[in-house]
Subunit: 343 residues, 4 copies
C-alpha cells in the first residue's frame, strides 16, 4: 500500500517513517513539508539516511492523491483540519495525528483551540483511535483521530474501571503525568532550550492543558459518569516517555488481587503489559507498549495506577500505525513488533 506522510520533518513524522521501514505491507511514496519542500528528506531527518530516498514536497492533496492510498497527517493543531477533509473527499483514508478530529463537540473544540471547526459532520464521523476501546469501529473507519499522548497514557489504565462501573464519581480523579521533551515538538523554544530543561522539572498548564477535555470526553463516554478530573502535566529532562500516575477513586473497597483481576480484560491486548513492579520509562523507549503497574492505597478505596508509554510511539506514530493495521484488516502488530532500546 502506498502511504503519504503529511508533515514529515517533525518528531512524529520522523517516527512514522522510522516505524514504517519495518512494515511489510507499506511503501512510503510521499513526504511533505511546507518549509523544506524541494529538499531531500534526509537533510531534515538524517537518522533515516540509507532508508529513504524521497524529496519533500508541498501539501497539494490533488497531486498527492495520485500517489498514495492512505495518509498519516502529522500537522499541528488547526492546520490539519482542512487537508484531512480534502484527502477524505478524494477517497484517501486518513489517520490524523493532530487534535482536530478528536473532540466530538464542535463547541468544546472551539473553546479549547480558539477557532471554529469547519467540518462538524466529519467530526461526528471520525473515530477516536484508541484500539483498546474502539477496535471494532476503527476497523471500518475512514478517518481516525489518533489520541493525544497524555490521554493515551491516562486512559489505558482507567478504562477497565470505567467499563466495570468501579469509579467513585463523588471524588476527584487525579492524573499526575510526567512527559519527556519530545512531546513539545521540534520547534525550539525557551522552555525546551537545553540548559533550561536539563536538570530541571516543572509542571505547566495546570488545569488548562488541551488534553484535559479529550480525557474527560472519553471518561464520560466509557464510564457514563461525571467525575471531576485534576490533570497536572510536567516537562521531564528526558527525550521520550510519559509516566502517568492516576489516583483513581473506587466506589467500593478493593484488594490488590481484585485490581489485578480487573485487568484481565487486557490479557490479549498485544501492546499492554501489566507488570508486577512500578513501570520505568527506560523500559518502553521506541515501543508501542503501555506498561501498567497497580498499587492500592491502604484504605483500599483509591487505586494508584501507573502507566509508562513512549509518547512518540503508543502516544503518536505507533498507535497511528496500529490503527492503520486495524483499518486494513492486517495483523495489528505489523511494523510494531520490535523490542525497544535499553539502555
Amino acid at each position: 500500500m502506498k502511504v503519504g506522510i503529511i508533515g514529515a520533518t517533525g518528531y512524529t513524522g520522523g517516527e512514522l517513517l522510522r516505524l514504517l521501514v519495518q512494515h511489510p505491507k507499506v511503501e512510503v511514496t510521499c513526504v511533505t513539508s511546507e518549509q523544506s519542500a524541494g529538499e531531500s528528506l534526509i537533510t531534515r531527518q538524517p537518522f533515516l539516511n540509507k532508508h529513504y530516498d524521497l524529496v519533500l514536497e508541498t501539501l497539494d492533496p490533488e497531486k498527492i492523491k495520485k500517489k498514495v492510498d492512505f495518509v498519516f497527517v502529522a500537522l499541528s493543531h488547526t492546520t490539519a483540519m482542512k487537508p484531512v477533509y480534502q484527502f477524505l473527499k478524494n477517497k484517501i483514508k486518513v489517520v490524523d495525528l493532530s487534535a482536530d478530529y478528536r473532540l466530538k463537540s464542535k463547541t468544546i473544540y472551539q473553546r479549547w483551540y480558539g477557532i471554529k471547526h469547519l467540518y462538524p459532520t466529519l467530526l461526528r464521523k471520525s473515530v477516536y483511535g484508541l484500539p483498546e476501546l474502539y477496535r471494532k469501529k476503527i476497523s471500518t473507519a475512514h478517518l481516525i483521530a489518533n489520541p493525544g499522548c497524555f490521554p493515551t497514557g491516562a486512559l489505558l489504565p482507567m478504562i477497565p474501571f470505567l467499563q466495570k462501573g468501579l469509579v467513585d464519581e463523588t471524588r476527584e480523579m487525579i492524573i499526575d503525568a510526567k512527559s519527556g521533551a519530545s512531546g513539545a515538538g521540534r520547534t525550539p523554544g525557551i522552555r525546551t532550550h537545553f540548559p533550561e530543561a536539563n536538570e530541571g522539572m516543572m509542571a505547566y498548564n495546570i488545569g488548562t492543558h488541551r488534553h484535559l477535555p479529550e480525557i474527560n470526553q472519553e471518561i464520560i463516554k466509557t464510564g457514563k459518569i461525571k467525575i471531576k478530573t485534576i490533570f497536572t502535566p510536567y516537562l521531564l529532562p528526558i527525550n521520550r516517555g510519559i509516566l502517568t500516575t492516576i489516583y483513581l477513586p473506587l466506589n467500593k473497597k478493593q484488594s490488590i488481587k481484585q485490581l489485578q483481576s480487573i485487568f484481565g480484560v487486557y490479557k490479549d491486548e498485544p501492546f499492554i503489559r501489566i507488570i508486577a513492579d512500578a513501570p520505568n520509562l527506560s523500559q518502553i523507549k521506541g515501543t508501542n507498549y503501555c506498561d501498567i503497574g497497580l498499587f492500592l492505597a491502604p484504605s483500599g478505596r483509591t487505586a494508584i495506577l501507573i502507566s509508562a508509554i513512549d509518547n512518540l510511539v503508543k502516544g503518536a506514530a505507533g498507535q497511528a500505525i496500529q490503527n492503520m493495521n486495524i483499518m486494513m484488516r492486517w495483523e495489528e502488530t505489523l511494523g510494531l513488533s520490535n523490542p525497544g532500546l535499553f539502555p
Copy 2:
C-alpha cells in the same frame, strides 16, 4: 566555633563542607570516615580542593570531643544512633542528619527501621529541625533531628493549612514527590547506575517509604487531625532536587486568593519563596530555598501545592546549618545567603 563533620565522604557530608566554607563563624576542625580514615579529605571530595586541608579520621567521640564544639552527624540510619548519644553526653551539641531521632515513638521507629531504639529518653528530647515549625524549640535544643528530604518538601506547603485547620481529614491527601538521584546517596547500586537511571523515571517504595511515618507524625502534631496520606516517591534522572505535588483536600471551598493569603504566614521566612508560576527544580539548585506554587482544582475543594527544594540543601545540609544558626542564636541565614546555580 569548631565544628566536626561525622561522615564526610558522602553527598551530605560534602554539602555541609561546601556550605560551611561560606560561613563566617565556623571552622571545620574534624572530618570522619571509617572507610577512608588516614586519607586526605580531598581525595574523596576533590571538588573541595583548595578549600580544606584536613585528613579523614575514624569516629572516636572521646578524641573528637577535644577538637569540636558542635557536630553534624551525616551517617546512615541506625549507625548514627550511638555516636549522637556519645557526643551529647560529652556536652557537644548535635545536628543529626540521619533518621535516628526523628520519630518520636520508639515503636514506630522499630517498625520502620528494624532495630530497637537504644536511647528512647533522648528520642523524646530531640527537636525535629524544621525551623518554619519549631524555631523556638530549636533555639534551646541540644539535639536536632534534621528532617528527611521528602518530609521537608511535603510539609512546608501544607503547614499553613494544618495550622489553620483547613484540611478535610475525611479524604486522602496525596503526595506525589519526584527526587533527583543524589537522594539515593553515594553508594553505587543498580537503580542509580547511569545507563539504568538516565532517560528513565520510575516510582519506588509506594506506600512503604520510610519518610512516610515521618510525614504523618508531623501532620498529626501540627494539624491535630488523622488524615490518610498517600505518598508516591520517584527517582528522576537529575542530580539534585525534589519536586513535590500535594493534592490537599480542603474542608471548605477556597479561592486562589484565599490560598495566597493563607501563605502570608510565611512572609518573613528567609527561605520560603511563594511564586506565581509552577516551581522548577532548575531554580533552586544549591540553595536553601523552598519554592512553592499554589493552584486550585476547579471544585475549589482541593489545593494543588507544588514545592521545589534542593534535597542536599533545604532537604539536608542547608537546613542543618540553618538549625545550627538558630541553636547558636546567630543570624539564621549565615552561610546560606548565596543564590543557586542556574543553568
Copy 3:
C-alpha cells in the same frame, strides 16, 4: 538456526537479544547467567517482556551444545577464554564478544590482561571480526573475535588510508574517543554512579586502555607501518555511542576532495555512511551504522576524521550479528536493517 547467548544479563547480551528478535533466520534457545540461573530472562531484562519466554541457565557447554548451533559469548574478559574453546571443540561456531581472542600475540595478551592465554593455537585461528577489513576470512571462520567498541570506531575511518599507504608514520596519530556510559557495562561502580557521571566528563586510562594494543595490532597489519598512537578515551554522560576524532598524519598533502575519493572504497558497505557534516551521536542510536565525517587541517597534511557508532551495536552486538550473517553466508544486513531511534 538455534542460537545461544552466553551471558545474557549484561547490556551486550540484552542488545543481542533485542536485535535477534528482528532476525528472520535465528531462534534463541538458550540464555545463560551464573548469578541469575533459574530466573526468568525477563526479570533481568524487563524491556524484552513479551519477546522472550526463556529461563536463564548456568553455563554448561556439554548441556548447551545439544540445544544450539551457534553461540554468542558475551562474558567479561578472561572468563570467556575457556567456554569459547569448549564450544568450538563441540563444533559450535562462536562469535566471542570479549577481548580473549582478539590479540594475536599471547605475549601481548598476557601483558594487558594479566593472565596467560590457555589456547594460543585457537588464538591464531580466530578471525578479527571487522567485516569491512576481513569479510572473506570471516566467511569461513569458526571463531570470530568481535572487535572492541573503541577499536571499531577508530579503525573504520583510518582503514582506507592504511590500505593505500597514505599515513605518515613519522608523526603520531591521535585518537580522541568519547564513549557513553553503557560501554562501562552493567555492574555499578562509583565512576558510573548517576550523580557522579551526570553533568560530568573525564578522560580515563590515558595510554593504558586495553583497547590500545588492539588498535595498534590492526594498524600494523593493515598499514604495514609502525606509527605511534595516542589514545585518549573519555566517559560521556549519555547512554550509548562513541564519537571518535582521529587526527591522522598524511604523508602527502591532500585536498578535501581527495579525502572523499579515498572513501570511495566504502561505497558498497551497508553500514558505513560517509556524511557531509560532522557526525552526531544522536543519529546512530540503536543502529549498526558507522557515520564518518571528513575534515582537513589547513596544512593539508593532517586529516580530521570523525566517526560515530553505537557502542552496543556496531561496537558489539550488531557487529557480532553481522559477523554471524557472513559466517552463515546469509544476507549481511539480516536483523540489522532498522533505522535507529531519534530523538
Copy 4:
C-alpha cells in the same frame, strides 16, 4: 562600588549577578535589557529571587553613567562595540565579555566578525583579560577584553610551555575542546533544542570557529612562534563546562616530572589547580577554577594537557570579576572564593 550589568538576561549576565551577590565591595545598581526593559529582573532571572530588586532598563549610557562606577558588558558580538566606547568616554571602566575588543588586529576582526571595527584606537588600548598572563597590565587598564571560554580553557595549560620556549612549532598543535550547552547562549535554536542535544554529541565549526584567531593571537604573542593550530569544538549534553585536551608538540623530550615542574609557575595562582588525575567537569561547576591534568605520550615528545573550566565562570563572568578585582587593586578572589556544586 556601583556596578552595571549591560545585558542582564542572558546566561553570562545572570552569572555575573549570581557571583556579585557574594562580592563584599560591589553593589549592582543597574541592569539592562533591550527586550525586557521595564520588567523586573526577577521575571527573567527567577533564580535570583530574594537577591535583587531591580528593574531592567534600556541601554542608555548617558543615563547609566550617573548610577554606576563600573560596567560589565555582556552583549553579543558586534553589538558591544559602541556602548563600550561610550562608557569609556564617560570615564566608566569596562570589562567587555564580548569578542569586540579581543582581536588586536582590526583586519582579523573584520575577517572573522564580518563588520569593520569602529574604534581601532580603543582596540589597541584594550587589555586581554587573562590574569595569569597579563595581571600587571590589567591592573592599570580601563578596558578589559574578557577572553572567550574556549581560549581560556586552551591557553591556560599551554602558557607555561609557550613562555619557556618548549613548543615545537614545526608540528601542529591539536586542541580538542568539548563544551556544555550554556556556551551557546540563551537564545533557543535547533542545535540546542533539548531532544536534539540530549543523548547526542557532535563537533561543529571545525576550522572556522571564531575563537581560533583569538587563541592564535595569544600563542603568537606569548610563545613568539608561528605554530599551526587545529581546533575542534564540540557540543556536549551538559549545562556547564569545557573539557579541553591539548596535544602539545614539545621541541625536546620531556618526562612527566619535568612537565609537572614546568607548571610550578602556577603555584601561587589562586584559580589554577594542577591535579594528579584527569580533570572532570563535575568538579568545577560554579567555580572560577581551571583544573589541569598532565599526561605524556610514550614518545615523550607530545604533552597531553587536559583542562576543565566552567564556561560561565572562568570562561566568562568569574574571570570578568577577577579582572575587576585586579583593576580595583582588591583581593583577587573577592566574590569568587566559594566551592562549586557537586554533584
